[in-house]
Symmetry: C2
């Protein structure tokens, strides 16, 4: 069921009445700024808020961004599993969200977090720790 | 003309002989690790090397990564213009590359740079300076 029935506000998605009425929709003003890829996703950079470490890049759809803004837990869309991914729900390596920003053209999200433990599934602190490439110039 | 002719090495692309012979190809070992989107692109996060600021996100194909590694100038593929984009060639806001890393699964590049002036085309230092979203939790 979607919003906009003759029975008025609060019946479903997109009616702007918030979580108390089960509204899982992103603020339409934010949604209008997002530029999504053909799969409806936007890349989200996770950065440790105090050290500045770039931890990882994952992907958000509108609802993942909404959940991130409303729950304070970084929540992505797992492209491999095809489901929402609340970072740390399985591993314990939670990302507590400190701030979220869109870039100038709305096609990238920066999520500043306090990362518990390792951000990377390999156990490394960041996903870039072991991948340094040699400069050839 | 491609490499692998009976006339030996150095005749063209992919022969491993480098820029002096006009070789524009990425190291095959690096290329084998890259996971590209359907357009052949990988997201590249540009970070100021000393302050940790996340400056912007842009996109690289294999040759853009190769040029970045060999020239020391951050070089992207402009999706809007459909051409290579040597950051700063027009604006003067050059990115001098300090290091490059691939993430754990080869689908994101982290480029640590020394950014001259503004990274953002708006004149802001980073592309995220004005896009902060309100937390609703």
């Amino acid at each position: 069921m979607t919003g906009g029935t003759p029975y008025g506000r609060g019946g479903g998605r997109g009616t702007g009445t918030g979580w108390l009425n089960g509204d899982m929709s992103l603020d339409p003003e934010i949604a209008a700024r997002l530029k999504r890829n053909p799969d409806g996703l936007v890349p989200a950079i996770a950065q440790q808020h105090d050290t500045g470490e770039v931890l990882m890049l994952a992907w958000m759809n509108d609802e993942a961004l909404h959940r991130t803004l409303t729950t304070g837990r970084a929540t992505y869309w797992s492209r491999s599993r095809g489901e929402f991914w609340v970072k740390g729900d399985t591993s314990g390596h939670v990302q507590h969200v400190k701030s979220v920003a869109l870039d100038c053209d709305g096609d990238t999200i920066l999520v500043r977090v306090d990362q518990v433990g390792a951000a990377c599934h390999t156990g490394d602190r960041t996903c870039f720790d072991t991948g340094r490439l040699e400069m050839l110039g």
